[in-house]
């Protein structure tokens, strides 16, 4: 299945792209989708999406099809649109 991911805030800089498509196994959960993204977009990106424990980073705001996704085990579906927002403090 294929999922589209949009990046907002500083995480877009770390990702190096505004959005990306990622192919995942059917029934992949958010936490594992993020580790697949981290493998592709590097270590600094990885530290923004996952905690050292492997859990989804609690600072990350994650929408799936414009609805907040709560929980590491949220199951993704083919065609889902994910939006990720990292913390912002600019003035």
């Amino acid at each position: 299945m294929r999922v589209k991911v949009h990046f907002y805030g500083q995480i877009r800089q770390k990702a190096g792209v505004e959005h990306t498509d990622i192919d995942l196994a059917e029934g992949t959960v958010l936490r594992l989708a993020f580790s697949a993204l981290a493998a592709r977009h590097g270590e600094e990106f990885g530290r923004m999406v996952l905690e050292p424990s492997g859990r989804v980073h609690p600072n990350l705001i994650c929408l799936v099809n414009d609805v907040p996704a709560t929980g590491d085990e949220h199951v993704l579906k083919d065609g889902d649109g994910v939006a990720l927002f990292s913390p912002v403090a600019g003035g």
């Binding site: 600072n59 705001i61 907040p68 912002v88 600019g90 003035g91």
Partner: protein
């Protein structure tokens, strides 16, 4: 709260906004009777201050350290070119008094610290968080929760702006939104003045709504604007029962 009366001059200046249904003379008197702390008064805090001053808030406590630098002038619209090398907060206070000589401005020539935050938050009815660094933001959040003061949280990055209104005990606080200190955030960030001004004007409007009861606020909602595409998103946000800052407050 005993509301201040309006003078003839104030009736003339604020006539057009008192025509707004739900605001009226009562809203104007509430605003005149209110005070706010704006920490820092740069790209974001400048438009917050200017819009609150124009609308007729009674008292503004403005906090910002340092002197004006050339790189401030793309967005810090209360600073001026001839102020380069001179005190930022003096420029802010002067510009606000030029716009509204009735306004009581308290100019604090320093940024928010652990040492001054309790005293500054204690002087006002509402706080506007416009700081560029997370330790300042978290410090104000803790103090606002402790004193039960509303805090309008506004931030910009690149072409994005976001605003939410924190009502301690009722909405998530900043530590609910960001439970960990964002370790990769840096002092310098890409920013365009018009984006800061959008966030600042939105934050000022939120404050006016909280103070006067006008409309519906962004309590419990993070407004995110991507000005590259002009997508406006309302993101529902939730309190964390285990929040070390506000988790102890009754819901």
């Amino acid at each position: 709260m005993k509301l201040a009366h309006l003078t003839d001059e104030e009736r003339a200046v604020y006539e057009w906004q008192m025509w707004i249904v739900g605001f009226g003379e009562d809203g104007q008197r509430r605003l005149k009777s209110s005070s706010a702390l704006v920490s820092r008064c740069g790209g974001l805090g400048g438009p917050v201050c200017y819009n609150l001053a124009a609308a007729g808030i009674g008292r503004l406590v403005v906090a910002h350290g340092g002197v004006v630098k050339p790189s401030d002038l793309n967005r810090q619209i209360l600073m001026t070119h001839d102020g380069i090398g001179k005190s930022r907060i003096e420029s802010v206070a002067r510009r606000l008094r030029e716009l509204n000589p009735r306004l009581d401005v308290v100019a604090v020539p320093e940024n928010i610290t652990e040492a001054n935050v309790a005293g500054l938050v204690g002087q006002v009815d509402i706080v506007f968080d416009c700081a560029p660094l997370f330790p300042e933001r978290f410090g104000m959040n803790r103090e606002c929760v402790r004193q039960g003061k509303p805090m309008v949280e506004a931030a910009v990055f690149n072409l994005e702006a976001q605003v939410t209104t924190i009502l301690p005990g009722k909405t998530p606080c900043l530590a609910c939104l960001y439970p960990r200190t964002p370790e990769q955030w840096t002092r310098q960030f890409p920013v365009l003045g018009a984006v800061s001004a959008l966030a600042g004007a939105t934050a000022a409007l939120e404050g006016i709504k909280v103070l006067t009861g006008l409309g519906t606020t962004l309590a419990g909602t993070l407004l995110h604007v991507d000005t590259a595409t002009m997508e406006f998103r309302r993101i529902p946000i939730r309190r964390r029962p285990d929040c070390p800052v506000c988790g102890g407050l009754p819901t």
